[in-house]
Amino acid sequence: MKISKTAAYKTFTAPLVSANPIAVAVLGICSALAVTTQVLPSIVMMLAMTFVLASSNVVISLLRNYIPKNIRIIVELVVIASLVILADQLLKAFLYDVSKQLSVFVSLIVTNCIIMGRAEAFALGNGPWLSFWDGLGNGLGYGYILVVVSAFRELLGAGTLLGFQIVPDAAYAAGYVDMGLMVLAPGVFITIGLLVWLQNKWTGR
């Protein structure tokens, strides 16, 4: 059987394009707004988010037959919150500078609608294997939009990418000015708006 025919492959790729959490479902915008001023924090946010999403999906899927129905949302939240605390602690121990930059947004992964949404909509009804791929796909689908948006913002707003100067000094000397708007919140709305438009144009919705 070809790999592209497996259920896991389909579960993994759907959220990357056709069911992208940001570009199609427009979920998780708050954190997309906040962390995308530079590329590096966006990449770390993508990794943290994917880690939390994939593990929470697997854990909840494993527990799905035991979780009492009347407290299921609370159980999901406890699982997600614990994983986020774990991710935050790991960042503080191994990537201190980035964790300082992300500050409160790592802990705010808890409130990211994508995670709760996938737990409710997917992990409660599917096995751990598929849930893992669903979490991975959604995390990366969310993350690559973040990275694309942040690349735009950092390049136009500060003239750098990953901290390296891209716009040459000669351009500044000739009167080029960084676009301050891109660093602020409106810059994200404009970039994400354009991305959603491109996405819908491409998938023909």
Partner: protein, 230 residues
Amino acid sequence: MSSNIKSFIFAFVMCCVVGLLLTLAAEGLKPLQARNMLVDQQKNILRALGIMQSTDKWSKDQVLAVYTNTVESIYVDAAGSLVEQPSDADLPMYVIRDGASIQRYAIPFKAYGLWSWIHGYIALDGDASTVVGMSVYKHAETPGLGGECDKPWFLNQFIDKKIRKPNGQLVSVGVVKGKVADTIASDQQAYYVDGMSGATITGVGIERDLRTTLQQYEGFASALLKEKQS
């Protein structure tokens, strides 16, 4: 068994398991995190003292080694004399000595901006008048506006500014609205730095609380000056 009791048991067991796991993780990672925080603090002190440039990328061990070899952490009381056993009222300082005399010293400060306390260090030369450098390590100001207060372009302006008139009066360093070159008379420009556009309140806060902090250290500054003269 009724479903309510089952829910309670499930919740109880889950809390115990999760609590145990998180405690283990937090305790296990604590030494690494404490080390990171220490390195970060020392890095900022070294930056303020002008030993480390904002473009330098030093490893953690390098920071720790340089700090241990050059910087001495001391406490002084309000009159400026050294205290062996510091109490809460005493003032912390980080000094670099040249022989026995103090060559430069860094003072921790915190200033209230628009949203948050801005934490940092300001370092002065042994003349207690010239700024050698400044660093900011923690704040929650708006990125791109007040958040610029931890950027090198803003902090490096403080280098070589004066906090004291030639007659010895403390004036601290002011943050102007706009550019110093446009707003301040040329003989006063040594006491001011450019403000951040869109962040007047952050600038005002830094100016106000920096002056308050420097005033607390006036006892030490006059003791230092007296010692230099004699």
